[in-house]
C-alpha cells in the first residue's frame, strides 16, 4: 500500500505514464481483467450495499462486479453483426399505434446496444520524490527563518507547485499557478479585517456599555473573548475561502477549477450544526459530516461544470452508531486497563517511598528518570493509539469511501478503497511523525498523503471534453487571508 520509499517510480499496472500511454483503447462493458497477485491494483468494485451505494447517474457508466455474468450474447464478439432481440415496448396510455415510421408497440425489435465505451478505471499518478520535496521544504524553511516569517507565503506556494505538478490524471499534469504575493496580501487583508471588526465591537462596547460591561471586565479580556467567540466561525469561513483560492489556482489540461457558494454560508452550516452536535453528545456527527462535504462538493467546479453529490446522512448512521457505542466501551476498557496498571504498580511506588518521593524525583530529574518519564508517556499514547483511534479510523475510512462514492462529475464516477488500516496510517502515523520530528517530518507526511491519494482514488469513466468549457474570470485576486490567521499549515 502506501510505502514510504523515496522513489517516485510508479510500478502500478494501471499507471499512466506521460506520452507513452497507449491511446486509450475503448473496451466493452466488462471490467478490466484483474491480474492475479496484484492486491491493491484491483479496483474497488462499486457495490450497492455496505457503503458503496451508487449515486444517481452511476448506471450510465456501470461497471459490473467481476463475478457478475454478462447478459447472454453480450458483449457481441468482435465483428459480429447479428442483432439480438429486445422485448418491445408496451403502448403508452392513450396511444393507439406507434408513431409513423416505428414498429408497432409490443412487437419484438431488433436492437443493438449503442457503442458505450467504458475505459478501465484509472487512478491519479504521483511521481514526486521525497528528497526533492524535502529540498523544496527545507529551502523555504531556511528563507522563512532568515526573513522572520515573511517568506512563508512564497514557500508555501513553492511546495504546492511541486505537489500539484507531480500529480497526473489521464497522462496530464495538474498545474498550480498561485503566487506568493497573493497569499501575502490575503494575510494582510485578513489582519486588517480582524482589526476593523474588533475595533468596531470594542468601540460599540465603549460607547454603549462602558458603565456596565467594561466596568466588570478588562478591555484586554474582552478582546480575547471576542477573538475566541469570532474565531470558531471565522475559521470555517477561512477554510472555505482558502479552498476556493487553491482551486481557482488549479488547472488541468489548461482548464481552471473553482468553488461556487458562499464562505459565510459554509461557516453558518459549520457553526450551527457544530453547536447542535455539541449539545446532542456528538450524535448528529454524520449529519454534520455529510452536510459539510455536500456544500463543498456541490459547489466544486471544473471549468463550467459542477461536481455532483448525492449522499445522505441516513446511509451512514448505522456505522456511526456502532462506532459511537464501541467507542464508549473502548474508553471504559482503557480506563480499566490504566487503573489495573496503577494498582499493579502500587507496590513498586511504595518501594520508592510513595507518590511524594516520585514527585520529588520528577522535579529533580536524572537522565534515567527522564527516560522513564518518556517511556510512560509513550505507553499512555500507544494505549490510546491502539484502543481508541482504530475505532475512529474505522468510521473515518467508511465516511471517506461513502463520500467519494457518492460524488460524480459529468459521466465520471469516483470510488475509493481506503481501508481502516490506511486511515490509521494516515491519521496516527502522520501525527507521530510530526510530533517526534518537531515538525521537520512535514514533507514526509505530505509525501505519504500524496501517495495514499494516488493509491486509493479510482476514477471510472472519462471527462466529456466537449461538455466542459473554460471557467470565466480568474477567481479571487488575493488568497487565504483569514485561514492563515488561524491555521498556518504549509499546504
Amino acid at each position: 500500500m502506501n510505502d514510504d520509499s523515496a522513489s517516485g517510480a510508479d510500478k502500478r499496472p494501471d499507471s499512466v505514464t506521460g506520452s507513452s500511454a497507449p491511446a486509450a483503447a475503448p473496451q466493452w462493458l466488462t471490467p478490466a481483467p484483474a491480474e492475479p497477485g496484484q492486491g491493491p491494483a484491483v479496483p474497488p468494485v462499486p457495490r450497492d450495499h455496505g457503503g458503496y451505494a451508487h449515486s444517481q447517474g452511476f448506471s450510465r457508466n456501470y461497471v459490473p462486479p467481476a463475478g457478475h455474468a454478462p447478459p447472454p450474447g453480450y458483449p457481441p464478439p468482435a465483428g459480429a453483426t447479428q442483432p439480438y432481440a429486445q422485448l418491445g415496448y408496451a403502448a403508452p396510455g392513450g396511444y393507439a399505434a406507434a408513431p409513423p415510421g416505428y414498429p408497432p408497440y409490443g412487437a419484438p425489435v431488433a436492437y443493438a446496444p449503442p457503442p458505450i465505451h467504458v475505459n478501465p478505471p484509472v487512478r491519479l499518478t504521483y511521481d514526486g520524490k521525497l528528497g526533492e520535496l524535502y529540498l523544496v521544504y527545507l529551502r523555504s524553511l531556511l528563507l522563512t527563518l532568515v526573513t522572520l516569517g515573511v517568506y512563508r507565503f512564497w514557500g508555501r506556494t513553492r511546495v504546492r507547485r511541486y505537489l500539484w505538478s507531480h500529480f497526473q490524471a489521464f497522462g496530464d499534469r495538474f498545474e498550480y499557478r498561485g503566487r506568493g504575493i497573493e497569499l501575502f496580501l490575503g494575510f494582510l487583508a485578513g489582519v486588517g479585517f480582524l482589526m476593523v471588526v474588533g475595533g468596531i465591537v470594542l468601540g460599540a462596547l465603549w460607547l454603549f456599555a462602558r458603565e456596565t460591561v467594561l466596568q466588570e471586565v478588562d478591555a484586554g479580556d474582552a478582546a480575547t473573548w471576542l477573538l475566541l467567540l469570532a474565531g470558531y466561525p471565522l475559521l470555517a469561513v477561512g477554510r472555505y475561502a482558502g479552498l476556493r483560492y487553491k482551486l481557482t489556482r488549479t488547472r488541468w489540461r489548461g482548464i481552471r477549477s473553482g468553488l461556487d457558494g458562499s464562505a459565510w454560508k459554509f461557516g453558518g452550516i459549520s457553526v450551527g450544526l457544530g453547536l447542535l452536535n455539541a449539545m446532542s453528545a456528538q450524535l448528529v456527527t454524520p449529519i454534520l459530516d455529510v452536510a459539510l462535504a455536500k456544500y463543498r462538493l456541490k459547489n466544486l467546479t471544473f471549468g463550467t461544470v459542477r461536481f455532483g453529490f448525492a449522499g445522505q446522512a441516513g446511509d451512514i448512521y448505522g456505522r456511526f452508531i456502532g462506532f459511537y457505542f464501541l467507542n464508549i466501551m473502548a474508553w471504559i476498557v482503557l480506563v480499566v486497563i490504566i487503573v489495573m496498571i496503577i494498582g499493579g504498580l502500587s507496590a513498586v511506588i511504595d518501594r520508592f517511598g510513595g507518590w511524594e518521593a516520585i514527585g520529588d524525583k520528577i522535579a529533580h530529574p536524572t537522565p534515567l528518570v527522564i527516560v522513564i518519564m518518556i517511556l510512560v508517556a509513550l505507553a499512555v499514547y500507544s494505549l490510546i493509539g491502539l484502543v481508541i483511534l482504530p475505532l475512529r479510523c474505522w468510521y473515518q475510512a467508511y465516511l471517506l469511501r461513502y463520500l467519494i462514492s457518492r460524488t460524480w462529475f459529468g459521466r465520471m464516477q469516483f470510488v475509493s478503497g481506503v481501508t481502516t488500516g490506511q486511515m490509521w496510517g494516515f491519521i496516527v502515523l502522520n501525527w507521530i511523525i510530526l510530533v517526534f520530528t518537531f515538525g521537520i517530518g512535514w514533507p514526509w507526511v505530505l509525501h505519504r498523503t500524496a501517495r495514499l491519494i494516488a493509491d486509493q482514488l479510482w476514477i471510472y469513466g472519462e471527462v466529456d471534453a466537449l461538455a466542459v468549457a473554460q471557467a470565466l474570470g480568474q477567481g479571487p485576486a488575493i488568497g487565504e487571508g483569514l485561514l492563515d490567521l488561524f491555521d498556518t499549515g504549509i499546504v
Binding site: 506520452s19 507547485r161 505538478s165 489521464f170 520529588d360 510530526l434 515538525g439 473554460q470
Partner: protein, 375 residues
C-alpha cells in the same frame, strides 16, 4: 532538430490534450497536429515560460497571441533545444538539482540559522533590555501593576511612603540605574515584593508586618532594586517572546502538539533564567548595601524566617512533625527543583550571610512610620 519532438497542447477552451509535434526556430515556434493542422504559430520572442524548472517536471509555454492556450513539454531534448534559443525561453530548461549535496547544504545552513537564532533569543535580551524606550517599559509596568493590585487597598500614609522612598533612593543612587524607582505598598498578608518593568516596585504589607526589623525589609527592597538595576523583568519578557517566535518559525506553527512540547521547553528555560536572575539580584543587593554602608545581614535573616515559616506551615498542614520523616527541614524552592522560579532558599541563605555591622537601614522613627503605612 532532426526528428520532430512532441508536446501536449491545451486549447484553453475544453479539457482536451492534443499531442502535437513542435518545431522551434529562432524566429517562431510551430506546433502541428498529427493530421498536419498547425495549431500554434508563436513568435519566439513573445513566448513566456510560466513553469519553474525547480519545482515542476514539465515546461509550460504560453503566448499572449493565443490567450488561454498552453504547451506542456516533458521531452528533455525539446526543452534543451528551446532553452538553447535563449531569451525568455532559457527558462524552459529541465535541469534537476542533485538532491543529496543540495539537501546537505540546505540542512547545514538551516542548522546554523536555528543555532544562531536560538543563541540570539537567549543572549540578545540582555543587551536590548536596557535600551527599550522608558515610556514603553513604564506603560507595560503600569498595566502589570493595575492587573495585579486592582482589587487590593493601596497604603499611602505619606510618612511611611517617605521613609521607604528615601531608602530606595539611597540604594538607587549607589547603583548604575539612573532613573527614579517608584514604590507602592498594597495591603496583602502575603510576604512578598515585586519589581515590574519601568522601575516600579510593589511591596505587600505582609512583608512589613512580619519583618522583625528594618534590616529585613531593607534586604528585600535591595534585592528588588537589584532586579530593577539588571532589567530582569524586561529581559524575561523579551526572552519568552523571542523563544516563542523562533519556535513558531521552525515548526511552521501548524501543530498544537509540537507547540505544546516546545512551549514546555520554553517555560523550563525561562525558569532557569529566573533562578539565575534571583542569584544576581541577591548579589547586587549586598553590593549596594555595602556601598552605602548599610547593615546587610537582613537578607539572610529574611531567608531564615522564610524557611521557618514553610516548615511551620508544612507541619501544620500535613500533621507531620518536622524532622519525623527526614532530618532536613522542608524547603519549597528546593523541592520544586527545575520547576521553581527561585533557587533553593538554603543556598541563598548561605550565599547572603553578612556580619551584623553597619548603619541601620532606617531610623527608629522611620521604621515606626513604615510599619504604620497601612493604618
Amino acid at each position: 532538430m532532426t526528428s520532430p519532438m512532441t508536446a501536449r497542447f491545451y486549447d484553453g477552451l475544453h479539457p482536451v490534450a492534443h499531442i502535437v509535434s513542435v518545431k522551434a526556430t529562432p524566429a517562431e515556434l510551430v506546433a502541428t497536429m498529427p493530421d498536419g493542422r498547425v495549431v500554434v504559430r508563436w513568435p519566439t520572442a513573445e513566448i513566456e515560460v510560466v513553469s519553474d524548472a525547480e519545482h515542476e517536471p514539465h515546461a509550460l509555454l504560453v503566448c499572449a497571441r493565443q490567450p488561454g492556450t498552453r504547451l506542456s513539454i516533458e521531452d528533455d531534448a525539446l526543452r534543451q533545444a528551446l532553452a538553447d534559443l535563449g531569451g525568455s525561453l532559457a527558462r524552459a530548461t529541465g535541469r534537476r538539482p542533485r538532491i543529496a549535496p543540495a539537501l546537505g547544504g540546505v540542512a547545514a545552513a538551516l542548522a546554523i540559522t536555528v543555532g544562531v537564532m536560538a543563541f540570539a533569543a537567549e543572549k540578545l535580551p540582555n543587551v536590548v533590555a536596557p535600551f527599550v524606550p522608558y515610556v514603553w517599559q513604564r506603560s507595560l509596568g503600569d498595566s502589570v501593576v493595575t492587573a495585579m493590585t486592582s482589587d487590593m487597598r493601596k497604603c499611602t500614609r505619606p510618612e511611611g511612603q517617605q521613609a521607604l522612598q528615601t531608602l530606595i533612593d539611597r540604594l538607587q543612587d549607589a547603583s548604575s540605574y539612573r532613573r527614579r524607582i517608584d514604590v507602592s505598598v498594597v495591603q496583602n498578608p502575603i510576604v512578598n515584593a515585586f519589581a515590574v518593568p519601568g522601575g516600579r516596585l510593589i511591596v505587600f504589607s505582609g512583608l512589613i508586618d512580619k519583618a522583625s526589623g528594618p534590616e529585613e525589609v531593607a534586604g528585600v527592597i535591595a534585592h528588588e532594586v537589584g532586579h530593577v538595576v539588571h532589567h530582569h523583568s524586561m529581559k524575561g519578557l523579551l526572552r519568552a517572546y523571542g523563544f516563542d517566535m523562533v519556535l513558531k518559525l521552525v515548526t511552521g506553527g501548524y501543530s498544537s502538539d509540537v507547540a505544546t512540547l516546545g512551549g514546555a521547553g520554553g517555560v523550563l528555560l525561562a525558569l532557569r533564567h529566573s533562578r539565575d536572575a534571583e542569584r544576581e539580584a541577591d548579589q547586587t543587593a549586598l553590593e549596594l548595601m555595602d556601598k552605602v554602608g548599610m547593615r546587610a545581614d537582613g537578607l539572610s535573616t529574611f531567608f531564615g524566617k522564610l524557611l521557618e515559616m514553610q516548615n511551620k506551615q508544612a507541619s501544620g498542614d500535613k500533621g507531620k512533625a518536622p524532622g519525623s520523616g527526614s532530618t532536613k527541614p522542608r524547603d519549597a524552592a528546593e523541592e520544586a527543583g527545575i520547576l521553581s522560579t527561585h533557587p533553593p532558599t538554603r543556598e541563598r541563605l548561605e550565599a547572603t550571610k553578612r556580619p551584623p555591622t553597619g548603619a541601620p537601614a532606617l531610623s527608629a522613627q522611620e521604621w515606626q512610620a513604615l510599619r504604620a503605612i497601612c493604618r
